[in-house]
Amino acid sequence: MTAVSIPNPERKLALTNVGIAYIAFIIGTLCGLLQVFIRNDALQLPAWLDYYQILTAHGVLLALIFTTFFIFGFFQSGMSKTLGAFGPKVVLWNWVGLIITTIGTVLATVMIVIGEASVLYTFYAPMMANGFFYIGLALFVIGTWVQSFALVGHYRVWRKANPGEQSPLFAFMTVATIVLWVIACLGVVATVLFQFIPWAFGWQEGINVELSRSLFWYFGHPLVYFWLLPAYIAWYVIVPKLIGGKVFSDSLARLAFILFILFSIPVGFHHQLTEPGIASFWKFLQTVLTFMVIVPSLMTAFSLFAVFETRGRELGGKGLFGWFTKLPWKDVRFTSIFVAMLFFIPGGAGGIINASFQMNEVIHNTLWVVGHFHITVGTPVAMTFFGVTFWLVPYLTKRVFTKSLQRLAFPADHHLVDRHASHEYSPACAWIIRGAPPYRLYGLPA
């Protein structure tokens, strides 16, 4: 594809991040596969291994580790490409951050594997894990902050050298995503540092459960935007390049990201709609604020399809839908991302149902929710990351993404969609049709 690449220090950084992401992906996916076998009674776990251990590993490794490491690898590549080579300090601090993140990851993973932290990735109090699990989580977040600040530092260096110039879209969106991430993490850092760690090590008796839940969800919902926005970056910046078009509107793309930062802050209560301790008024207020995210989502949908149509017409597409057939469907880098986008439509619509105040009682903690996050983070985000990987890794390793690899990539992608869509979502869809909720989120009745 291309022999030109970014400088070596950044390549190593990005490849390390992406490499760890895919190790987590493989283990996490295997855990998911094991769950399917266990629930089908096709497999009996040995006595030393518990279903909830595997479930915790599946959630943490895929939703937290795979996404975060991949995102930072992606950011480091893009920031170097668009703003120029990293200075030695930026490289150093990125490594420091990466190492802290990795130590935190290993510590938390070990605690899960030895059965000291079967608390799922929501780790709701007052279920207690080994104190070192929480230390692992804290290190993980601190490490991502160090990498974040190093990247913002790189942006500042560029800004000083180029006063008055408009920043490249990729860099703008990266900084916006980092701002969102740092603000979101304040909640989880507060609860882990001031509530969970003192409590788990016995320095403090008891824990304010409802406060810890609210702080967790202050983080937990923006967390999903932190997964989504890098996928949006790929959709806004990279997809137009892949198909030979250009961004529909640079300024609207930037506005969408700013709106995401704003609308990501006071929305966590919509995960707590059916619990006591929060007055109805505040639950409703956050329902309204949650819905605001529809605005940047619709802007994004418009912008992307405008790019597709414009490019399709340039390539000679005629009539109302003729442009659609002109898109490069045989290019897996485009197709996997396109399929990802399609899944985001039912994903987003399901999200509106989930957040709809009293409607939440109908779906709360049912398999419907499992379906929801598998067709949002599991499909659109993961498949976009796959699409990105198909060009990012060849670019970073200076290798060529061959035709035969392309052919291999198509079934791999379809497998991912199949697994997530039919196995996870169909029970939820069946529920709408049958009108009977598939209860029991975590394990079937014996």
């Binding site: 109090a125 007052p126 279920m127 619990e275 007055a279 009293q358 009745p445």
Partner: protein, 157 residues
């Protein structure tokens, strides 16, 4: 900032849909009283045996003919473990937890409550059809979580 004509139409449609959705949800919530379960009463989870009404979990008929169900969730079951209520009467469930966070969710109804230690969650429901309803815990609460359930018998008066 320039907005394309089609984008203006698209976003106006989006805003209009948003306002309609939220109005429906809001009217339903504040005019018709369809709010999800909740409650601001606090309780000491380590001392439930001594605190009314949780010192005597069970079903109580109130003066106005409605019913109250007092229940405690703990790993991995509920107290009481079986209850009976009539059809066509308002039943208010008041539930709290003795240990970790659970849920109290009656299958095939809109009763789907988080049960948080230290708090009392409340939900009022009227059963229209008689029969046996399953109540499950749908919030992971430990290694025996999937065994945590109870039944509620709804009988015609």
């Amino acid at each position: 900032m320039h907005l394309h004509k089609y984008e203006k139409i698209w976003l106006s449609f989006g805003f209009a849909a948003l306002i309609i959705f939220l109005s429906v949800v809001g009217v339903s919530a504040f005019h018709q009283g369809h709010a999800p379960s909740g409650g601001l009463q606090k309780v000491d989870p380590d001392n439930l045996e001594a605190i009314p009404p949780f010192d005597k979990p069970g079903v109580y008929e109130k003066e106005d003919g409605s019913y109250e169900v007092i229940a405690i969730a703990e790993a991995f079951g509920y107290t009481p473990s079986e209850i009976q209520v009539p059809t066509g009467e308002e039943v208010t469930f008041k539930v709290t937890s003795k240990d970790v966070t659970h849920s109290f969710s009656i299958v095939d109804t809109n009763v789907n409550m988080m049960v948080v230690p230290g708090h009392v969650n409340e939900k009022t429901h009227t059963f229209e059809e008689s029969g046996t309803y399953l109540i499950v815990c749908n919030e992971y609460c430990g290694s025996g979580h999937h065994f945590m359930s109870m039944e509620i018998e709804v009988v015609d008066q």
